[in-house]
């Protein structure tokens, strides 16, 4: 029993990180209908901003950790908005395939520019937050797991508030439902799209920091695998659906952790993706997605 709880806890904290990244994929898909492949590299840049910021603050302090987190989020929000402005906005109205190829290009650019600046060798991420472990009835809870869960919950509540309770959030949903009608309401869609990239990238940065706290070896290609998993999580939950992305991330992280802790651990990714395929066979639009026919 306690082993089950332990794995569940480990799984949820990994899943929360996937969820944070998945939210960015799904929000950008919502407003622009394409997959931003560069998103996983924004995640990586977030971890590197954290690495350099971590040298400026004392280790093992709560405020130091939060400062690192905040800096990475702000830095990546600006990065995401810059990418959108320079790479995607000129392609507004172009076929989706062109934008997708551009996104892959931006992704490679970030990865290999990262190798030039940061070097290809992995670096050790500093322990910016205090590190402790607690034992609760046989379940070992690390402070990092608590931080992951607390930060993810807070960010998702804030996101929920922004999307459902503010004017810009309502505009985001409106642009996602019908961009032309949104323009006729006086919405400047470019501003809303830019805001969406900023928001998604800030969440990816938070994911990057939390990931690096738990897997403290960072390198410029570190975004590839978690990025792919988060992308899968977004599809699993129903692409374009915000609660779906969060749910997809939690499910994927939990399944992966349970398989990793079993005798089939070698196949953890294969089994996680097999589950995705099975779910999509039965629910092609994802768990919370609505099946709609693509308008031509």
């Amino acid at each position: 029993m306690s082993e089950l709880l332990q794995q569940l806890l480990n799984g949820l904290s990994l899943g929360a990180i996937y969820a944070l990244i998945a939210l960015g994929y799904t929000m950008v898909y919502g407003v622009l209908r394409f997959i931003n492949f560069a998103h996983s590299d924004v995640f990586m840049v977030g971890a590197f901003i954290g690495y350099y910021m971590g040298k400026l603050v004392p280790e093992h302090t709560l405020w130091g950790g939060l400062a690192v987190l905040g800096a990475a989020m702000v830095g990546c929000a600006l990065l995401g908005m810059t990418i959108e402005r320079l790479a995607y906005r000129p392609l507004r109205g172009a076929p989706t395939l062109n934008v997708l190829i551009t996104a892959i290009g931006v992704s490679l650019l970030l990865e290999y520019t990262g190798q030039v600046f940061f070097g290809a060798a992995p670096r050790n991420f500093p322990a910016v937050f205090p590190v402790r472990s607690f034992s609760l009835g046989g379940v070992i809870v690390s402070s990092n797991q608590l931080i992951v869960i607390a930060v993810s919950v807070v960010l998702m509540v804030v996101l929920q508030f922004i999307v459902y309770r503010t004017k810009i959030g309502t505009a985001m949903r409106a642009v996602s439902l019908n961009p032309k009608a949104a323009v006729l309401m006086g919405v400047n869609n470019d501003v809303v799209i830019s805001f969406t990239f900023g928001l998604g990238s800030a969440l990816a940065a938070a994911g990057g920091i939390l990931y690096a706290l738990n897997y403290p070896s960072i390198d410029p290609l570190m975004g590839v695998m978690p990025g792919l998993k988060a992308f899968v999580a977004a599809i699993l939950g129903g692409i374009g659906n915000i609660p779906g992305a969060a749910l997809g991330g939690l499910i994927l992280g939990t399944v992966e952790t349970f398989v990793a802790g079993s005798e089939w651990s070698t196949y953890k990714d294969a089994i996680a993706f097999a589950i995705l395929i099975i779910i999509l066979l039965f629910r092609p639009a994802g768990l919370l997605g609505k099946f709609t026919v693509e308008k031509v």
């Binding site: 505009a171 409106a174 032309k180 323009v183 309401m185």
Partner: protein, 235 residues
């Protein structure tokens, strides 16, 4: 109030509007009638900035708005209720109205406009928390008009408000259109396939045929025009 001069629009190589000109006076209800593909919707979409003209000039309240982005044209008080209504189906009725007031910052004015919308369309008030996509066609049209009114428009362009609506609701909606014009002095440009109805509520009309204006004059006069009667008014 609105002056359109030699407006030409084309979709690729296909010309949709071949240099049309017309003027709309403040406070009027003017209708644009014509068959399918005559260029009615194209005209409205070009005025509201959704389409870019190939040539010509659009002036609103004395200012050239021909090349302005659509969201800045709305900000000047020119509001377009598009064909097919284009309500935000997964937003509630309330949120749709809030989107209509996107550019309004005066809370009192927003509340006043909301009350006005509910006074002319009480049905919307009953459905305030409902997803807009679950409304009937007529209710969605009310919402589309109500949403436009939330922005305190000076000039309203309505594209086919009778399309896909139960007959008994059509007369209600047209009564409300006239009421909006009378009580609030909102100038209206109405595009309709139902020419009888359009000529009944409007003061003057333009007849569009394959991208050209072929006839215009006071609506009362056009209603008795033998040629128009034969083509659009069912004899």
């Amino acid at each position: 109030m609105l002056t359109v001069t030699d407006l030409s629009v084309s979709y690729g190589a296909i010309s949709a509007l071949g240099g049309i000109s017309f003027t709309i006076e403040q406070g009027a209800i003017v209708t644009l009638i014509g068959g399918n593909g005559a260029g009615k919707t194209t005209t409205l979409r070009t005025i509201s900035g959704l389409l870019r003209p190939k040539a010509g000039r659009i002036e609103f309240l004395g200012a050239d708005i021909t090349r302005l982005p659509a969201h800045q044209i709305v900000a000047r008080g020119l509001c377009h209720v598009p064909e097919g209504r284009m309500i935000f189906s997964n937003l509630t009725v309330d949120e749709n109205l809030a989107m209509g007031a996107y550019l309004q910052h005066d809370k009192e004015l927003i509340a006043k406009n909301r009350d006005y919308v509910f006074s002319i369309f009480p049905r919307l008030k009953e459905r305030i928390k409902q997803m807009a996509g679950t409304l009937s066609g007529g209710e969605q049209q009310m919402l589309a008009i109500g949403r436009a009114l939330m922005g305190s428009p000076k000039f309203l362009m309505l594209d086919e408000p009778s399309l896909g609506i139960a007959p008994r609701l059509i007369s209600t909606i047209f009564e409300k259109i006239v009421e909006i014009n009378r009580n609030h002095g909102i100038t209206i440009l109405l595009v309709e396939q139902n020419a009888n109805l359009a000529l009944e509520v409007s003061s003057s009309a333009y007849v569009l045929e394959t991208g050209r204006i072929v006839m215009h004059g006071p609506s009362r006069q056009l209603r008795t025009d033998p040629q128009l009667k034969a083509t659009y008014l069912g004899g």
